[in-house]
């Protein structure tokens, strides 16, 4: 079906799932956000959106003249989204073999259909994002193109009582390779980034997401990834900003020998709530997935890791590993971990573990017995806890950068 105009597009979005309410489109203020998941819904039980439903909100009208306030931090190529709208004027050129386009209606439909194949079809933010986004932007790495330079994507803008909806579609074609760093840096608003990633045969994507929105910002990030045969996806999220940030990833291992790393760190202080939610679907044999999540929580913050790994009956020889660890630095901090394994195949290696605790007494005493002051000793142990996973997850060139990003937030929760 071709979509001739915007109206059709809306109609199509409306048909996309039954729960879609067309009143959401451009008129969110007239309705309460009463389609937000209720606390009884299992997927949102640990991350409640009640407070959000009490805020009257409008999708933002992107101001295409708005000045960028965030400097790029690394890399020579960068893309900027302001108020959810892609800004050519603020972005650099792209390496050769990499293209960027705004999807037309026909392509948008393909995008929708692909989303429909994932769990995001029932996701509370999908419809809102699709209805409210200024445009769907597609980044393509052409077949056989191995991009050695890093591309940085900066998402900024926002306004209080407004929602922001960047939507990005990334296609890594056969035998191609890309590295991305995405920075979310919005001022107070509700941000709902939606992302679809397709990695074709033997393609490789390395992606780092840094959630660093201003305090009081809600960020409900939803992203799904489809991996073909021998595709490689290495994703790392650093969640540190916002009053409520949920980074949700659904990954589909659809081709044999695909490999996924889905690691993340959250650093939470004050009243922050951070949530890393993942679902990994092993649908074919011989794929591997590995997940390490670490959290450091201070003040009255709370953190959630919920990770589902589903191994289909024919997905033999699956190797799925999942490990989450949270360290509480204050009596009022809370961490929840909910690993879920659903295994329907019998010849698999799957393991998961989750711990929530305080810093190790023995280690602390050992450092102090060497004259290192308590505070410094705590910092050293937490830094080590994070360095460990950062070094394991990322290429050498990013270790210092990401570690410094993490450490800058740590200083707020360790006095």
């Amino acid at each position: 079906m071709l979509l001739d105009n915007k109206e059709d597009y809306i109609t199509n979005v409306k048909n996309f799932t039954s729960s879609f309410d067309e009143n959401h489109f451009r008129s969110l203020a007239s309705k309460d956000f009463n389609n937000w998941p209720k606390p009884l819904e299992e997927k949102w039980r640990l991350s409640r959106l009640g407070a959000l439903s009490r805020i009257k909100m409008m999708p933002i009208e992107p101001d295409l003249k708005k000045i960028s306030k965030i400097d790029k931090k690394t890399g020579s190529f960068f893309l900027k989204f302001v108020d959810g709208a892609f800004r050519t004027d603020l972005s650099s050129d792209l390496p050769s073999g990499v293209t960027l386009e705004e999807l037309d209606d026909k392509e948008s439909l393909k995008f929708l259909n692909k989303i429909k194949e994932s769990d995001l079809k029932n996701h509370p933010t999908t419809n809102v994002s699709l209805s409210c986004t200024p445009s769907i932007i597609k980044l393509t790495v052409n077949e056989g193109i191995k991009v050695n330079e890093l591309i940085e994507i900066i998402y900024e803008g926002g306004d209080s009582k407004f929602s922001v909806h960047p939507v990005l579609y990334i296609e890594i074609k056969k035998n191609s390779k890309l590295s991305l760093i995405e920075n979310f840096d919005h001022i107070t608003s509700l941000v709902m980034p939606l992302q679809l990633i397709e990695i074709k045969e033997k393609g490789s994507l390395k992606s780092i997401k840094i959630f660093n929105d201003h305090y009081n910002t809600y960020n409900l990030s939803a992203h799904c990834a489809f991996l073909s045969t021998e595709a490689n996806y290495n994703s790392f999220s650093l969640v540190k900003g916002g009053v409520f940030t949920r980074s949700e990833t659904h990954a589909y291992l659809n081709g044999p020998n695909a490999n996924l790393n889905l690691n993340g760190v959250y650093i939470s202080g004050k009243e922050q709530h951070h949530d890393l939610t993942t679902a990994i679907y092993h649908d074919v044999p011989n794929c591997t997935s590995k997940q390490i999540v670490r959290g450091v929580l201070g003040d009255s913050s709370s953190g959630v890791f919920q990770g589902k790994v589903r191994v289909a009956p024919n997905a033999q020889k699956t190797d799925g590993q999942q490990m989450s660890k949270a360290i509480l630095l204050s009596e009022n901090a809370r961490a929840n971990a909910k690993p879920e394994l659903e295994i329907y195949a019998d010849d698999v290696i799957c393991a998961h573990g989750a711990t929530v605790g305080e810093l190790d007494d023995n280690q602390l005493f050992y450092l102090k017995s060497r004259g290192i002051p308590e505070n410094k000793a705590r910092k050293m142990l937490i830094s080590a806890f994070l360095k460990d996973i950062i070094n394991e997850s990322l290429d050498d060139q990013f270790h210092d950068y990401i570690f410094n990003e993490a450490e800058s937030s740590l200083s707020f929760i360790i006095d």
Partner: protein, 250 residues
């Protein structure tokens, strides 16, 4: 003034009295050995001296060069010149050996009003000391004690001692887990640091270690009190007759 003075130290753990009035004086240049059977309170005493949380004295006092340590935290005591070589050195994944050492040494130097080492200056100093303890460069690059053998761990403890230049060192069962060769290296490392200004307290089960680190005084700790003190010959008596004879006689 004595270097270290323990005055009638009483300590309870879980409401059970472990130290029942330990007194001991260590003067400059002295090496004291504390021997005793399992459960006599040796490790508790070393934790109490080092200031581990939960090991505060019920009554009595510990003095370092006349200053009471009772109210001081472990790190304050260490900066002030007290060192504990652990029976089981703790692994610190992700904490690099070199930066750990530098942090420790600089904390002490800062306390003493000495200039802190910069990175390069420290690396040079650490390598010099490390080679004396047969600690390879590669070991300093690794995370502290992670994947170290028993011998490597103890050598690394003594390297820390050498670099921190403490006034009083407490060596808690430093011989445990060591073969004869490793025991020799570690003992030589300790002996090299014996001088007229510092004091060493060696806590051990066995006389074996005392063949290498020859003490000036030997004390037998049993059921939370020192039941007998003497010279090195006391250790030989233990070796020959066991603790039982001494304890019964006391």
């Amino acid at each position: 003034m004595s270097l270290l003075e323990i005055k009638d130290a009483h300590l309870k753990l879980d409401n059970k009295e472990i130290l029942k009035g330990v007194s001991l004086t260590v003067n400059k240049g002295e090496v004291h050995a504390i021997m005793g059977p399992n459960g006599s309170g040796k490790s508790t005493l070393s934790y109490a001296l080092a200031g581990r949380e939960g090991y505060e004295l019920e009554s009595g006092e510990i003095l370092l060069e006349g200053n009471s340590l009772n109210e001081m935290s472990a790190d304050e005591r260490a900066r002030g010149g007290l060192f504990l070589a652990f029976q089981y050195p703790v692994e610190l994944p992700g904490v690099g050996g070199m930066s750990f050492l530098r942090e420790a040494v600089n904390s002490r130097r800062k306390f003493l009003g000495e200039k802190e080492f910069d990175h390069l200056g420290f690396v040079k100093e650490a390598r010099k000391e490390a080679s004396k303890m047969f600690v390879k460069d590669e070991m300093l690059k690794r995370a502290v004690n992670v994947g170290f053998s028993g011998g490597e761990k103890k050598r690394f403890e003594i390297l820390q001692m050498a670099m921190l230049k403490p006034k009083v060192s407490i060596l808690d069962e430093t011989d445990s887990g060591l073969d004869v060769d490793a025991l020799k290296i570690v003992s030589e490392g300790v002996n090299a640091q014996r001088n007229n200004d510092n004091g060493i307290v060696v806590i051990t089960h066995y006389q074996r270690l005392l063949d290498y680190i020859v003490p000036d005084f030997v004390h037998i700790l049993s059921d939370g009190v020192i039941i007998k003190s003497g010279g090195p010959e006391l250790a030989l008596e233990v070796e020959k007759n066991g603790y039982a004879g001494l304890i019964n006689a006391a």
